[in-house]
Symmetry: C2
Subunit: 200 residues, 2 copies
DNA sequence: TAATACAAACTGACCAGTCGGTATTTTTGG
DNA sequence: CCAAAAATACCGACTGGTCAGTTTGTATTA
């Protein structure tokens, strides 16, 4: 990596980091490209040298964020091996995320909202989303096979678990003080698992 | 109601309806006041005669929407009286809402997103939200008292049920064709109820 | 010398909200 | 009952400002 490439990647990263900050704080529409540039300590020329548009930068951000989440989940999956523990471990992460005044999560909500109005963002957001669901569905299918869970459709079960997670995230952001979110998410997951176990 | 009042309310309603349409289609930021006026067949002067700002109109819309939901839920609560049936009835509504290509729901997602960036909208959105949660919490407490459910905290249980609903709504909008949402939401609620019943 | 990385002034489009004016309805006082 | 005054409902051109993206120029590196 020569001098030029080093400078290049450094500037690029500075812009990306600044953008993450700004979008998390003010949302996509509320953030001006000029503001991102100021935050990054860079000119507009630099911005459009590295990214073709505001939207493209946003999508780069989505990809990056989702890749990070991906690695996090894979790491979690490797730690425990019985299905129920895996799911509970994932849930613990959700609870922690809500608790922290985490700018990371704010960004994801921004992704979601943009997705509803912008087909390209929708694609970028949903593609990996399906992968996660598939992953969770697999955990359930293993659980059904080994008798941990009663017979149920893996996809449906995964969808329901994810729904719980998303719903808790959103409520947690609407009102961070309304509950002990780590505990509520743990409790919710336990209830779900109990409801999925064999026989009543 | 004299002539003037009639004209007044008619124009006002035309603006509100047009706004609901525009916001649902293009989002808050994506909708120009001028566009709302054109859609309503009304001038900008009329708009600012009836509403002090774009934001205020938005909040009026929220209030109206939430009042409608309120009545809907109350009506449901009156139909059945055992706790489990009440909750299942509510869930059925969620499933139906996702199914319809419903512009109404799009608006609610817009409310949510704005709430994250605008304190006034946050207030308008969360106040009635707490009421619903309280209502659902009551259902749970009745269920705990009469032995339908095992001992659990009504607030937590309500939060978890709402989380499921919100999460399903969002997934449903991200990908309407990914599942039979009415069935999945029904299934999810049944699993939750099963997990909350007395003993396993 | 050529290409790359960046600076910053600039452009054109858009947009929330204002303002001076008009049309219609209601009120008032003779 | 009716004219004049007052109030209300509405019109649409206009303003001040913002912002995404462009362009022209410069410094550094290959």
């Amino acid at each position: 990596m020569n001098k030029q490439e080093m400078r290049r990647t450094e500037t690029r990263n500075r812009i990306i980091e600044a953008a993450a900050l700004c979008f998390a704080e003010s949302g996509y529409d509320g953030t001006a490209v000029a503001t991102i540039c100021e935050t990054a300590g860079v000119s507009k020329g630099a911005f459009y040298h590295h990214f073709s548009s505001k939207q493209q930068l946003f999508i780069v951000l989505i990809d990056q964020w989702l890749e990070g989440l991906d690695q996090h989940l894979v790491a979690l999956g490797d730690q425990a091996d019985d299905p129920a523990s895996q799911l509970l471990a994932m849930t613990r992460v959700i609870g922690q995320i809500i608790q922290l005044p985490n700018q990371q999560m704010m960004i994801y909500l921004e992704f979601l909202n943009r997705a509803f109005h912008d087909p390209q963002v929708l694609q970028a957001t949903t593609r990996p989303f399906h992968r996660y669901r598939q992953q969770i569905a697999n955990i359930f299918e293993i659980g059904v096979a080994d008798g941990t869970f009663r017979s149920l459709n893996g996809d449906s079960a995964a969808t329901i678990v994810i729904a719980l997670a998303i719903g808790l995230l959103i409520q947690g952001f609407l009102d961070p003080a309304a509950a002990d979110w780590e505990q509520v998410s743990q409790e919710g997951m336990e209830i779900l698992l109990k409801g999925m176990k064999d026989k009543s």
